[in-house]
Symmetry: C2
Subunit: 209 residues, 2 copies
């Protein structure tokens, strides 16, 4: 199998962390988003959406979306468990993971994509010809600030994002916090619980993946 | 258990269709989004994100996000299967479901939220004080048009959105197509495959849920 990847981008990183936690190694092919390689005919023949990460199985099956690819490996390599072990824990982890994506990742991406000149004409991912909208920079930054506050509140009550066990929700949250640095936004002194959690996750070997 | 629901909103509808396919009945409480009941102190005490659907289990556990709640019931009521039976089918259905959400639902919501006066000051869901941005109406409509084209292309090759079996990806897609009507956008003559699929899904009893 083969994984289409980009070292610097947040969504491929989420998957690489997930794979590192499971001890899975896969052949990767780097695709450069800033230069538009993900929108080339060659890559769109593999994934018409032009998105990373994209996994191609040995039988030619193509799977995109980092959470869906993670689901594949959660089934083939169940240990360590990262997506829940029963109905309740699976649902709570999936819910928490989606909070990190919809409240966090989308906000940071909005601020980042609409302020970086590289993406002036590709303001939504996988597209060409979608113009940046200046008002979205502030909206994305405000959303990121709300996300930081909500992450801190969540981590006041629990060790990890979805409870007492490290999960895919922590991976997404950690990659979002690092992605936010690209927009100049960081966890601050008013986020002591998130800071404690961040330091713990950053010390895991998978954080280097 | 208790389900916080709103009859007219697309995300609660996705879950109701999922439950209807499984033959599950739950006590529901209607929460009115247009009047802001979802942002009231009373509802935020249940779900601080102010979002629907929200499920409260008998032990008090709160789960939001329709896909996460669906995952819970997929585990407790495995038949009929709607989220895959093995690593590959689970990943492909999750990937397809996310295409419907990120490419479809987010585009329609963008066009709807930023053009409806009711949401002029609540342009992102679960928030108060986020102003509508006029340029997002056109961006959302363009995204919806791309989504319709891509849905039609997907359904040229397969009976359902994620292959030959009806799944949660069809439920999301169907609810997105109906939600798009609120912005005046409908599948057209250039989407014959999507039209064939829509008629088939609309004939299922769950479409009335």
């Amino acid at each position: 199998m083969k994984l289409y990847d980009m070292k610097q981008a947040p969504n491929p990183r989420r998957l690489r962390m997930f794979l590192a936690e499971k001890g899975i190694e896969i052949e990767t092919v780097q695709v450069d988003i800033p230069s538009g390689e993900n929108l080339s005919d060659e890559f769109k023949a593999i994934n018409p959406r032009g998105l990373l990460p994209t996994l191609v199985l040995d039988d030619g099956t193509v799977i995109d979306e980092s959470v869906a690819i993670s689901r594949y490996f959660e089934q083939t390599h169940p240990e360590p468990n990262l997506m829940g072990t029963d109905a309740k824990s699976m649902a709570l982890i999936e819910s928490a993971e989606r909070h990190m994506e919809f409240d966090g990742l989308l906000s940071v991406a909005e601020a980042f994509r609409n302020s970086n000149p590289v993406f002036a004409n590709r303001a939504t991912q996988g597209t060409d010809g979608v113009q940046a909208i200046e008002a979205l920079v502030e909206r994305g930054r405000n959303g990121t600030a709300r996300f930081f506050a909500s992450l801190d509140a969540t981590l006041a009550d629990s060790r990890y994002v979805a409870g007492e066990t490290f999960s895919i929700a922590d991976i997404t949250a950690f990659c979002v916090v690092d992605f936010a640095k690209w927009t100049g936004m960081r966890l601050g002194d008013d986020h002591p619980n998130a800071q404690r959690w961040y330091a713990e996750v950053a010390a895991r070997p998978s954080a280097q993946a």
